[in-house]
Subunit: 333 residues, 2 copies
DNA sequence: TTGAAAGCGTTACCAC
DNA sequence: GTGGTAACGCTTTCAA
């Protein structure tokens, strides 16, 4: 393991100053064409690797955007991440990713950790944060984007949609086709805040439309998966006949529920409607296709990238970008 | 936006030297208990945030582990990432993640970029890399782990399984239950290298067992999704009756194929067996459950973390850890 | 078109 | 138990 090759080494080999090497490698036009190509050649030959850490230190610009997601293990959030990564790639920014596991305390810990890396911006999922998280961020005064939600009191920029509105549309759709006895299947109270918003909206909308009181079925701790959806339906067993629609917190839960219904010989949508949320592949491909809401997860990522560009180019007024969530009727309702 | 609070500021406020602050914040026992708590209190009061960039620069240790994955948008790789993140969290290492989109040239570009951040180790998916990637890494002499494969000529450590063996087991299973006319459904040649290994193994094993020649069905460019699986079956139409088993490159493709078969009224597994790969949730939950191979994606991540710990604690001999992939019989075969 | 000097915030090392 | 000094590799700034 030989010592690291630095600009100084390259400079020595070429017979110029480190400063000239620095400029040459950045394609600074004030360096003569000839010197630039010499420097490039020698750098390659010596196996020189640029040190971004040193650059970040010197310029006090890390080139990092810190991002927290509840989980990568969720096709929606993964889509957002991909949209963001790909759209941001050109700008030379690196994403520093952390998963909160749907827990605000974990988010706080993560933010604390991420801030020590001097990110130039912070992207958070959702509008709920601990007080400590909020003050950490405010004290730092760096650009923040909250996504996947439309928080009433945003920390900075926002790219999201109204989970409540989206769910209201879904319930209205169910009511229009004659469903009146709804059950909401989601995670236990507490962890999944967007899920909780959806639940509250289902309950409120049903009430407004004069439907029966919504039963809330606890499918387990967040994140709730396909298995949780199936298990919840299995546990309900015969009591399922009380309902004529199962409103699931996500497509994964809905798919689990749908599969279990098949096993139990329940006719979907004949006896029971099932709806999901998120427009996951599984909803579009399953037979029957699951009625769901497309939240445009990928676009959220892309839009966040656009906001970041705006921010880095000097703009300052907080942006609020609402991404449309739309009903995608399937064959389960 | 006030100037950044540094150790110097804290030192001044406490009335000690920056050096003492540095030690105190690291809970160095040579600093008196009293001083340590004073320093902590003042640091909190001033809103001091530790600068990891400066530390990384000074110590020449970045605290980063660079990881490349073909895609985050794949439950298997996401599981590996999660296993790795969670297991590594305690060590204080941060993951620097990049997605290659299943392309070696993109991997090369990523590795180049990631290396400028001085990662202390590099974790790559698969054993195939461009020559440039290989020499970049070798020149740097940093610990490397290749995962998800058992490369014949590894760059360093390995945590993986044999895609070929796993697939051979699956084909043997199909042959044992009387299937003889197999079709392999996967991505187009080129991109998905683990997929290509699986394909080759299916073809070879079928030949060895005296089955009919395997038809290779191109479901599209990697990554192939549920939709691709469904579309491939739809395109086959009546020609599907030529086969008695569909061996799919992944569970997502298998699920798409299964759903389309349902729509077309094809009896699975009566007329046609379907197998997947990866033990995704969808395989275990769907009705019928899909026969698949559990590759223990999460464990791969955990084991990579263990190897990293070993490496960071000073060990040097290349480790090769084989993670068992096992057949998970379902109801589609 | 090129170079010299200074410094970003932290810590290893040695001194006291 | 604490402090002074120097250095990590780069780029800003000013000078030539």
């Amino acid at each position: 393991m030989t010592a690291r090759v630095t600009m100084r080494d390259v400079a020595q080999a070429v017979g110029v100053s480190p400063m000239t090497v620095s400029r040459a490698l950045r394609d600074d036009k004030t360096v003569s064409e000839k010197t630039r190509s010499r420097v490039r050649a020698v750098a390659a030959e010596l196996g020189y690797v640029y040190d971004t850490t040193a650059q970040a230190f010197r310029t006090q610009k890390s080139g990092f955007v810190a991002v927290t997601l509840p989980s990568v293990n969720n096709a929606n959030f993964a889509d957002t991440f991909r949209g963001l990564s790909e759209a941001i790639a050109g700008s030379g920014m690196q994403i520093l990713l952390g998963a909160t596991n749907y827990r605000l305390e974990k988010e706080e810990e993560l933010v604390r950790q991420l801030l020590t890396r001097n990110p130039e911006a912070l992207v958070l999922t959702g509008g709920n944060h601990t007080d400590a998280t909020r003050s950490l961020i405010k004290a730092r005064g760096l650009p923040v984007i909250e996504m996947w939600d439309l928080p009433p009191d945003p920390l900075g920029h926002v790219v999201g949609f109204s989970n409540a509105d989206a769910m209201a549309t879904l319930v209205t759709h169910l009511a229009a086709s004659g469903r009146r006895r709804l059950a909401f299947v989601g995670a236990s109270e507490g962890a999944d805040l967007r899920g909780a918003e959806r639940r509250a909206s289902v309950v409120a909308t049903a009430q407004k439309l004069g439907l029966d009181d919504v039963a809330v079925i606890d499918a387990g701790p967040a994140p709730v998966s396909m298995r949780h959806g199936a298990a919840a339906v299995e546990r309900l067993g015969a009591r399922l006949s009380v309902f004529d629609a199962l409103v699931c917190v996500s497509d994964t839960v809905a798919f689990g529920a749908l599969s279990e219904c098949r096993r139990m010989g329940i006719d979907v949508p004949g006896q029971l409607a099932i709806t999901g949320f998120g427009h996951f592949d599984v909803a579009a491909v399953s037979d029957p296709r699951i009625t769901t809401v497309d939240v445009n997860a990928r676009l959220i990522g892309t839009e966040v990238a656009r906001v970041l560009e705006t921010v880095f180019s000097g703009a300052s007024a907080p942006l609020e970008i609402e991404v449309a969530a739309r009903l995608v009727p399937g064959e389960t309702s």
